[in-house]
C-alpha cells in the first residue's frame, strides 16, 4: 500500500470560551488527539453528534485552522502554515464543501462565473480553454449551460450544492472535505447529490473526508468510518462492518438510534443523559456517564484507541478482548 493522500497525527485543538457576561474563560478541548488517514479514491466518513469535534477536525485537516498539537501531512509533507503562499497553492489540491450552499456562493454572480473563478485565479489555460472547462465541470455535476447563467437564488438547494461541488472540482483537487454536504437537502435531492459524489470520486479518484451526523448517508459513501465522541475517535473501521457490528457501546447506540423505515419495530438502545458538554469532560472514559455497560475501570481510566482483529480500532476497555460489550448486554 502506498502512503495515504493525507495523514493527520494526534491533532489537538483548544478553544477558549467565556460563558455569559460574568463567566470566566475556560479552555475546551474541541479535538483531542485525533489521528486519521485519507487515501486516494477512498472516503473516510466522520460521524458524531454536536460537540464531538468532527467539523473542527475537518477544518484542521485542510489547514483552515491551526492545530494546537499534532500535525497534518499531505502526500508525506507537513502542511504549510495557513495563509502562506505554499498553503494557498496546496489549497487548490484540497477543497471543502459545506452544508449551506447559499452561504458558500456569491449572490451577485451567475453560477458559471463562480465555477470558473478558481480557473481564472490560478491562471489555468487560455480563456477559451477555461470556458470549455467550466462547461465540462457544470456537466460533470449535472448542470446545463443555461443553469450556469442563473444566479444562486434562482436555483434549488440541490442545484446550488452541485454548483458548489463543481467549483470545488475546478482546480482538479485530489482531496475533498465535505461537512454535512446533504444535511440541508430534502431526501429526494439528497440521493441525487450522494450519487453525484460517489460518481465524481470514481471519475477523478478523489480522496474524501465525509463529515455527517447522518449514519445512513455516511455508510452510503464511505469506505471507512470514524466515530467521534467529545473530541476523540472512539471507533474506526470498515464502514459496513462498523455499522453492522459496532464494537464501541456509543457506536452501537448511535446505530441503533438511527431511525430507518426498514428497521422499524426493532428494539433501540436509548442512552440516558444529555449530549456531553466539551467544557466539562468526564474523567476516565468520556462516555462512561451515559454508557449502559460501564465498569469501574471506565470511571478512572481513559481507554486508548487500540486495534481489534479485522482492521478495526476501538477505544473501550470492555471491547478489547474482542467481545462486543453492548450486544452481550442487550
Amino acid at each position: 500500500m502506498t502512503a495515504p493522500l493525507l495523514e493527520a497525527d494526534a491533532l489537538v485543538r483548544l478553544y477558549s470560551t467565556r460563558r455569559g457576561l460574568f463567566g470566566r474563560p475556560t479552555t475546551v478541548q474541541a479535538v483531542d488527539g485525533v489521528s486519521l488517514a485519507i487515501e486516494k479514491g477512498r472516503t473516510l466518513g466522520l460521524v458524531g453528534e454536536s460537540g464531538s469535534g468532527k467539523s473542527t477536525t475537518g477544518r484542521l485537516v485542510l489547514g483552515l485552522e491551526r492545530p494546537d498539537g499534532g500535525r497534518v501531512r499531505y502526500r508525506g509533507v507537513d502542511l504549510p502554515a495557513p495563509g502562506s503562499r505554499d498553503w494557498r497553492r496546496l489549497r487548490a489540491r484540497m477543497q471543502m464543501v459545506f452544508q449551506d450552499p447559499l452561504g458558500a456562493l456569491d449572490r451577485r454572480l451567475p453560477i458559471a462565473l463562480q465555477v470558473r473563478e478558481p480557473l481564472d485565479v490560478h491562471g489555468v489555460g487560455s480563456a477559451s480553454e477555461r470556458a470549455a472547462r467550466t462547461a465540462e465541470l457544470l456537466a460533470a455535476v449535472g448542470l446545463g449551460v443555461h443553469q450556469g447563467q442563473r444566479y444562486p437564488h434562482e436555483l434549488s438547494g440541490g442545484q446550488r450544492q452541485r454548483a458548489v461541488i463543481a467549483r470545488a472540482l475546478a482546480t482538479g483537487p485530489d482531496l475533498l472535505v465535505c461537512d454535512e454536504p446533504v444535511s440541508a437537502l430534502d431526501v429526494s435531492i439528497q440521493a441525487q447529490v450522494v450519487n453525484l459524489l460517489v460518481d465524481l470520486q470514481a471519475q477523478f479518484g478523489l480522496g474524501m473526508l465525509f463529515i455527517s451526523h447522518d449514519l445512513k448517508v455516511v455508510r452510503q459513501v464511505s469506505h471507512r468510518v470514524a466515530v467521534m465522541y467529545l473530541g476523540r475517535i472512539v471507533e474506526e473501521g470498515e464502514a459496513d462492518a462498523v455499522f453492522a457490528a459496532p464494537a464501541h457501546p456509543y457506536t452501537a447506540a448511535l446505530v441503533s438510534a438511527s431511525p430507518h423505515p426498514a428497521r422499524r419495530g426493532r428494539p433501540r438502545i436509548i442512552l440516558a443523559g444529555d449530549p456531553p458538554n466539551p467544557a466539562a469532560r468526564p474523567a476516565g472514559c468520556a462516555f462512561h456517564p451515559r454508557c449502559p455497560v460501564a465498569a469501574s475501570v471506565c470511571r478512572v481510566e481513559s481507554p486508548a484507541l487500540l486495534p481489534l482483529p479485522g482492521g478495526r480500532h476501538v477505544a473501550c476497555h470492555l471491547a478489547q478482548d474482542g467481545a462486543q460489550p453492548l450486544r452481550a448486554a442487550v
Binding site: R18, G20, L21
Partner: protein, 310 residues
C-alpha cells in the same frame, strides 16, 4: 457580578475623562478666550494680565494637567465672565431645563411606547401607517423646524400659547411639546420594530398553541422581550435630560442649561462649557450604566454564566 461592576465603572470613568479631554482640546483650538472676553481692542497689557490670571500662557499640557487635576478634586473653576463658580451658574439653570425635559420624557414614554405597541399589533392598519409617517417625520424634521411650526400655528395663527420666554407654565407648553413629540415618534418606531420582531418569534406561537388568549400572550410574553431593545433608546433619552434641549431652549429663548451652553461657547467661557460637558457626560454615562443593569434584569441570558446549567 462585582467584577462586572468594577469593569463597567472603570469604563464609565474613562468615557468621562475622554469627554473632558475632548472639550479641552476643541475649546483651546477654536479661539483665544482672552481675546474674546477682553475684546480685540483691549490694551495688550490687560490681555496679558488676563492670560496670566487664568493660566492661559502656560504650556498647553500644563493647563491640561492643572485642569484635569482640578476636576479630579471636584473643582470646576470659575466663569471667566463674572468670576462666579461655574458649577453654580450651571446648577441654577438645571431646574428650568428639567421643567421642559421631564414632562417631555413623559410624553415620549406615554405616547411613543403605546403607539409603537399598537402599531405593531395592528400592522398595516391606518394607525400603523400614521405612526410610521410620524416616526419618519420625527426622525427627519429637526426640532427647531418643529418648534417654529408649532409657534406659527399656536402662537402666531391661533394666539393660544406664548412663543417664548419663561413666565408661568403656559410658556413651557410649546417647547415641551416640541421635545416630546419628536422623541415620541422616534420611540414609537423603535418600540414598533422591537414588538414586530418579538411577535414573529416561535415562542409567541407556543403561547397561542397552549391556549393563552392573545392579549395575555402579548402582555406576559411579548412585552418583556420587546422591552430589552427598547430600554436602550429610553436610556439614551433619560441620559439627555440635561443636554437634550439646547436647540429647543434657543428657539423658545428658555433660560435653561442649553441656552447657557450656547452663550458660554460663543463667549469662550471655558469653565462653564467644560462644566456643562462634564455634567452631560456624567448623566449619559450613568444612564448607560443603568441601561446595562436593566439588561441584566430583563434578560436572564446575560446574567447566567455564574450559574450552573449547560
Amino acid at each position: 457580578m462585582l467584577r462586572f461592576l468594577l469593569l463597567r465603572s472603570g469604563r464609565a470613568l474613562l468615557t468621562v475623562a475622554l469627554v473632558v479631554t475632548f472639550a479641552f482640546v476643541v475649546l483651546r483650538l477654536s479661539g483665544d478666550p482672552a481675546l474674546l472676553i477682553m475684546s480685540v481692542d483691549a490694551p495688550p497689557e490687560a490681555i496679558a494680565a488676563f492670560r496670566r490670571a487664568w493660566g492661559l500662557d502656560d504650556p498647553i499640557w500644563q493647563q491640561y494637567l492643572r485642569y484635569f487635576g482640578a476636576i479630579a478634586q471636584g473643582e470646576l473653576g470659575q466663569s471667566m465672565r463674572d468670576g462666579r463658580p461655574a458649577i453654580e451658574l450651571v446648577a441654577e439653570r438645571i431646574p428650568a431645563t428639567l421643567a421642559l425635559t421631564l414632562p417631555a420624557l413623559l410624553i415620549k414614554l406615554g405616547l411613543g411606547i403605546p403607539a409603537g405597541i399598537y402599531a405593531a399589533l395592528h400592522r398595516d392598519s391606518a394607525v400603523d401607517r400614521l405612526v410610521m409617517v410620524a416616526a419618519v417625520a420625527g426622525f427627519t424634521v429637526p426640532s427647531f423646524v418643529l418648534g417654529l411650526v408649532l409657534v406659527l400655528v399656536f402662537s402666531v395663527q391661533l394666539g393660544w400659547l406664548p412663543s417664548g420666554g419663561q413666565d408661568g407654565w403656559l410658556h413651557a407648553v410649546l417647547p415641551t411639546m416640541t421635545l416630546g413629540i419628536g422623541g415620541a415618534a422616534v420611540l414609537a418606531r423603535f418600540t414598533r420594530s422591537a414588538m414586530l420582531e418579538v411577535l414573529g418569534q416561535p415562542y409567541m406561537r407556543t403561547a397561542s398553541a397552549k391556549g393563552l388568549p392573545w392579549r395575555r400572550a402579548v402582555l406576559s410574553h411579548a412585552l418583556p422581550n420587546a422591552a430589552i431593545p427598547t430600554v436602550t433608546i429610553v436610556g439614551f433619552m433619560v441620559g439627555s435630560l440635561i443636554a437634550g434641549a439646547v436647540v429647543v431652549e434657543s428657539v423658545f429663548s428658555w433660560p435653561g442649561v442649553g441656552r447657557l451652553l450656547v452663550v458660554a461657547v460663543s463667549n469662550r467661557d471655558l469653565a462653564v462649557v467644560q462644566c456643562i460637558l462634564l455634567l452631560v457626560a456624567v448623566t449619559m454615562v450613568t444612564a448607560n450604566f443603568v441601561v446595562d443593569l436593566m439588561y441584566g434584569l430583563l434578560d436572564p441570558r446575560l446574567r447566567s454564566g455564574a450559574k450552573g446549567g449547560h
